[in-house]
């Protein structure tokens, strides 16, 4: 089952080419394109976080927005309230809060299988969303909070690159970090243990590995990447809102990772890019974005019957085997 792409040198080279192309593309794109691509790059880090749980852990979570939003609020609220440490400290706060939520997510799904995993993750993210709505003096509720410009990374680097430029390159740096971590994880011992855990946890356990420990580690990696995305979103766009914990943000990564293709190092970005551009084109309609995601999900569900890699991927989801 070792797909050739996983261990071949092709993927790292291809990833390097994509990252370089994105850096060069900055000079060619008009302002609008730069802004759109920067946003897509930030969100695609979240897509990598989801892909780690989807591809490597075999868990289809319907509650990853909780990880994204906790990173966003961790970083944003720190930047808003504490003058100590500046953006790096805020980033650390964001990562720490999504790590905590990912541990809770792992605990909740430790003993569930199949549909119950999906229901439990949906319930957890909804609980967090309701909490964010309830404490709207702190979180700003659905309307959200705009950070003062001085608290954002974009402002700190503005002198060098300009606002749009600093957003773009911070997003690119985050994306590079996400691609690198998935590349390294795939080629590490840990990554292979995670795959073994996904494919046959009983066998792995009989070889002396602690099932729970590796599940925790896998969820933490997924949570850290999602939190990195949320933190960077808050710190570059200077905005956070409870809407990011909502169900829309939990379901979009499913579409991204399936649209993007089978290669975990690149497909989360490619899918996010494709859906992002399509949504942007459709946003002329009334909230056309939501319709694109909705119809896209139905279409991709049909595609899973046709494309072998997709049905294999879904077949590996725990408790879903066909």
């Amino acid at each position: 089952m070792a797909g050739r792409s996983r261990y071949s040198v092709g993927t790292p080279v291809l990833s390097a080419i994509v990252i370089t192309a994105l850096a060069l593309l900055y000079t060619l794109l008009p302002d609008y394109g730069r802004t759109l691509l920067a946003r897509i790059m930030v969100l695609s880090i979240y897509s990598y976080g989801f892909a780690v749980s989807f591809h490597l852990l075999g868990v289809m979570s319907l509650g990853h927005a909780a990880l994204f939003a906790s990173g966003m609020y961790g970083a944003g609220l720190y930047a808003l309230r504490s003058p100590v440490g500046g953006p790096p400290a805020a980033l650390a706060a964001g990562l720490a809060s999504s790590l905590i939520v990912s541990v809770i997510l792992c605990l909740v799904t430790l003993r569930t299988r199949g549909p119950y995993t999906m229901i439990a993750t949906l319930l957890l993210s909804q609980a967090l969303y309701l909490l964010m709505l309830h404490f709207n003096e702190v979180t700003g509720g659905e309307q959200g909070i705009v950070l003062p410009r001085q608290a954002t990374v974009a402002w700190q680097l503005e002198g060098v690159l300009g606002e749009a430029g600093s957003r773009y390159f911070i997003a690119l740096a985050g994306l590079t970090a996400a691609v690198l971590s998935v590349l390294l994880l795939q080629r590490s011992r840990l990554g292979r243990i995670l795959l073994a855990l996904r494919d046959d946890e009983d066998k792995l356990e009989s070889l002396g590995y602690d099932r729970r420990l590796y599940r925790f580690i896998g969820f933490s990696v997924s949570g850290l990447l999602s939190g990195l995305s949320g933190s960077l979103y808050a710190l570059t766009y200077g905005y956070m809102g409870a809407g990011f914990a909502g169900v829309m943000y939990s379901v979009q990564p499913i579409l991204w990772v399936l649209v993007g293709g089978p290669v975990i190092e690149l497909s989360p970005f490619i899918g996010c890019l494709a859906v992002g551009i399509l949504s942007d084109l459709a946003s002329g309609l009334v909230r056309g974005h939501v319709l694109v995601v909705g119809l896209g999900l139905v279409a991709i569900a049909f595609a899973t019957r046709r494309l072998v890699w997709m049905s294999r991927l879904l077949g590996r989801l725990e408790g879903v085997g066909r």
């Binding site: 003993r111 199949g114 999906m118 309701l130 991709i300 569900a301 019957r305």
Partner: protein
């Protein structure tokens, strides 16, 4: 009034709102519990039922016509979703979840286009107050609670004693064998799913005069339905009703002490703890 004086009211309100929740969850209990279809669009069938009722009342047709329209719409949506999507996906778990999530978003947008973004209220068809133990209580709410009990009984009897119920259980347990015995499994799934859709539509219309009609109301209904179906024991209609009443009581009592959102979060947290500890397969 002190909190103690609210107790009888909290008790009654808990039972009634629990039964209202049970009415929404019944269809899901049938689709997920008996047929193992994870239909994430169930809440949207409920929302569309409420919207149909709202439109009928606005159009001057009256509430009862709205109730009928809601049942028909719920059933029609179920046929459409089943025949054009779910059957072609062969009810595979992951594809079904992905597709019904998409349908959820599409139906929300359809409702937004038709009824607009603002919440609207529907006048109850009967408005009278009943006095029970010295408390005045809305007669319409009691009527809905009674209807919910009646619907639960009907579904329970259908699963347990009718030929359709028997076939549904047979198809779920061993599809190949059921087909070998001459059961048209596709048809059984469709009929069962349509009953589930009709129940969701009816629930939407009946609760429309109590809660406001809003295009985003479906998700909440979906989450609470799943919650009571899982807690009540999958495939057990009586368990679903009991769990719904339990959750209704829990919420109405915690609401005496906590703000409503926090009491909902508390119920969610309790259920999550339950799911985390118990092995559910």
């Amino acid at each position: 009034m002190t909190a103690l004086e609210y107790l009888p009211l909290a008790l009654l309100d808990g039972v009634v709102s629990g039964l209202m929740l049970a009415l929404v969850a019944l269809g899901l209990s049938l689709a997920f519990g008996v047929m193992r279809i994870v239909n994430l669009a169930h809440g949207e069938f409920y929302m569309m039922g409420a919207a149909a009722c709202l439109l009928a009342v606005r159009g001057g047709l009256g509430f009862w016509a709205g109730l009928l329209a809601a049942a028909l719409l719920g059933g029609a949506l179920a046929v459409l979703v089943d025949v054009s999507v779910l059957r072609r996906l062969e009810y595979g778990l992951a594809p079904t979840i992905i597709a019904t999530f998409g349908i959820l978003l599409v139906l929300q947008q359809v409702a937004l286009a038709v009824i607009g973004p603002a919440p609207s209220s529907v006048e109850p068809p009967l408005s009278f107050l009943l006095s029970l133990w010295g408390i005045s209580y809305s007669g319409y709410k009691l009527l809905v609670a009674a209807a919910s009990l009646g619907a639960a009984l009907a579904v329970w009897l259908m699963i347990r004693s009718s030929e359709l119920g028997l076939k549904m259980r047979a198809v779920q347990q061993n599809r190949g064998l059921a087909e070998a015995l001459g059961i048209d499994s596709g048809r059984v799934m469709t009929v069962g799913f349509v009953v589930s859709g009709v129940l969701a539509g009816l629930a939407g219309a009946m609760t429309a005069p109590i809660r406001q009609v809003h295009f985003l109301m479906g998700l909440d209904a979906l989450i609470w339905s799943f919650l009571v179906v899982v807690v009540g024991g999958v495939g057990r209609v009586g368990g679903t009703v009991a769990a719904a009443v339990g959750i209704g009581l829990l919420e109405s009592f915690t609401a005496l002490l906590l703000p409503p959102t926090l009491s909902r979060v508390l119920s969610l947290a309790l259920v999550l703890a339950y799911v985390a500890v118990r092995r559910l397969v």
